[in-house]
């Protein structure tokens, strides 16, 4: 299987699970420490709104990677859950006047419910069919969002208030919002790490490597896949919900298929099935979009070229290649 599998499963397996703490290897723990330091320092050095955008997309890519990297399922419609999470959070904050934490929670829950229904349908087929089905279902959500009254159609939901966290801490200042976003990101990152390293996560990896064999061992793989799908979609919803509160806007862009493609690209660039890859991939793509924004449609061309280059020559992604170079698992 080694070089043919969709994930970076071709990495040299660590000789022993030399975990330092919470299932992180020494190298991963060092990387985690670096990431936390970055989170603490970044808003004082860089523009906080930019970092928040980056973290929202990093969380989105992490959620997506939970499926592609650890179960081997390529969902080509994750924008549906990301965008729906954004709409729900925006609607609850603006029209219902809910506090931000409830809005984000609602975004995650609704996206997860949507994921439960869609996942239940999509896991009936495997491989490329799974990708096509998730893409088609996401397109259905897109058309629903174009027509549904609560999304505001072409205008989207605008001027979403950030509100006060727990009704106490007003989030209008970017720095206050930043700490909330950083907290959500870090919490979700650790949660995903925990899921992947749980017995449940081990079964997911077994499904990725060899599903028939996992079935023969007595695991009901469909149930595992569905739960993984729901977790992934709920976290994608949280990411979208957080993003809509940060920018005060929820639009059709976030449910469009191009967004589904972007999250695939971020994860691919960073490294499929790596712990830190999606974060790095999201950082690279978001930064690129930021600097190249004035190029207009050329951004699409560049993204396409990166896709092609990654698939042809660079399948492990940045973190996968780095890990391979340093002979550690990141």
């Amino acid at each position: 299987m080694s070089d043919t599998a969709i994930t970076a499963g071709s990495l040299p397996a660590p000789k022993a699970e030399n975990a330092v703490a919470w299932g992180f290897s020494r190298a991963q723990f060092a990387a985690l420490t670096a990431m936390i330091v970055f989170l603490a320092v970044a808003p004082f050095v860089l523009y906080p709104v930019f970092i928040m955008k980056l973290l929202c997309f990093a969380l989105f890519a992490l959620a997506f990677n939970l499926l592609i990297g650890y179960v081997g399922l390529l969902s080509f419609g994750h924008a549906a859950y990301f965008g729906m999470g954004g709409y729900i959070a925006g609607y609850s904050a603006k029209a219902l006047g809910l506090s931000p934490e409830l809005g984000i929670l609602a975004g995650g829950v609704v996206a997860g419910l949507l994921g439960a229904v869609f996942g239940w349908v999509a896991i009936r087929r495997q491989g490329i069919y799974f990708a096509m089905i998730t893409l088609a279902l996401a397109q259905m959500v897109y058309f629903f969002c174009v027509q549904a009254p609560f999304t505001g159609g072409e205008d989207g939901i605008q001027a979403i208030p950030r509100g006060s966290f727990l009704g106490v801490v007003p989030l209008d200042r970017d720095m206050a919002m930043y700490w909330l976003v950083a907290g959500i990101f870090l919490g979700a990152f650790l949660l995903i790490h925990r899921i992947v390293h749980s017995p449940f996560g081990q079964v997911l990896k077994a499904i990725r490597e060899n599903e028939p064999r996992t079935i023969s061992l007595g695991y009901k793989t469909d149930q595992y896949k569905l739960v993984a799908f729901i977790l992934s979609t709920a976290l994608a919803g949280v990411a979208g919900a957080t993003k809509s509160l940060v920018f005060g806007i929820a639009t059709l862009t976030d449910v469009h298929w191009a967004m589904s493609g972007e999250v695939v690209l971020m994860t691919l660039v960073g490294g499929l099935g790596t712990t830190f890859g999606p974060v790095i991939g999201a950082a690279v793509i978001v930064t690129m979009q930021n600097y190249l924004a004035e190029l207009g449609a050329w951004v699409t061309v560049i993204q396409g070229v990166i896709f092609v280059a990654c698939v042809l020559a660079f399948r492990r992604g940045i973190i996968g290649e780095l890990g391979n170079l340093l002979k550690v698992k990141l």
């Binding site: 969709i6 390529l74 629903f144 298929w257 061309v301 896709f307």
Partner: protein
Amino acid sequence: MEDLFGIPAPLLFGQLLLGLINGAFYAMLSLGLAVIFGLLNIVNMAHGALFMMGAFVAWLLLDKLGLGYWWALLLSPFIVGAFGVVLEKLFISRLYKLDHLYGLLLTFGLALVIEGVFRNEFGSSGLPYRIPPELAGSWDLDFMFLPIYRAWVVVFALVACLATWLVIEKTRLGAYLRAATENAPLVQAFGVNVPRMVTLTYGAGVALAALGGVLAAPIYSVNPQMGSNLIIVVFAVVVIGGMGSILGAVLTGFGLGIVEGMTKVFYPEASATVIFVIMVIVLLARPAGLFGRA
């Protein structure tokens, strides 16, 4: 004028015709996807972009070289098909030993590049393409006006699909193709140049998409997004039909086009989503698709 099911007949038949036309494009595109998938095991995400390219090549032939619709109908599939051959040789052929999902990701990247280049060059607004004078005008059928060009598209697409089916099912080349789909190494052992056949199959599937693009050019405005909007629906069509059968792909394509057209008459709000809903129902009832093998 008579009413049918409480709907004015011209409206009903007009939408039926529109549905048939959309169905013609679904059929041609899903046919190409099925042929490519059968032999290459790749979902060609670039199929929509190549359909769009077919339309643009027709427009460019007219604008730059003064070659009209009939030349475009002949040349555009060749040009875009040749482009497809180059794509297969340069990129796609490197992936056959890898997981099929990489093929999907690669062709998605190619689609982004092609679409982006055309958007830079021609903008997002559509370019008009005139109906050829021989096919302009319409027939008065008593119960409706039938624009001649639209009838032409439906008939031509049917003939193209039928011809493809005949080539695959009734000729020696088609027999090789079907054999290679089942077991490529064995066919190669018999002395058939399978890699070349794979390349030409991709080219042919792409040419079929480009042919669809030329047919579509006078109906829709020629614009860079015309392919990507269509291809996602075609994916749903492919899931519904199952990619196992050529005739199945054609029937499903036309059938779903008609269903979509009728939905526009009776419940317009659902017309954009009806095919996806049908896909869900089919997946629940018959996961392998209507014509698929489990």
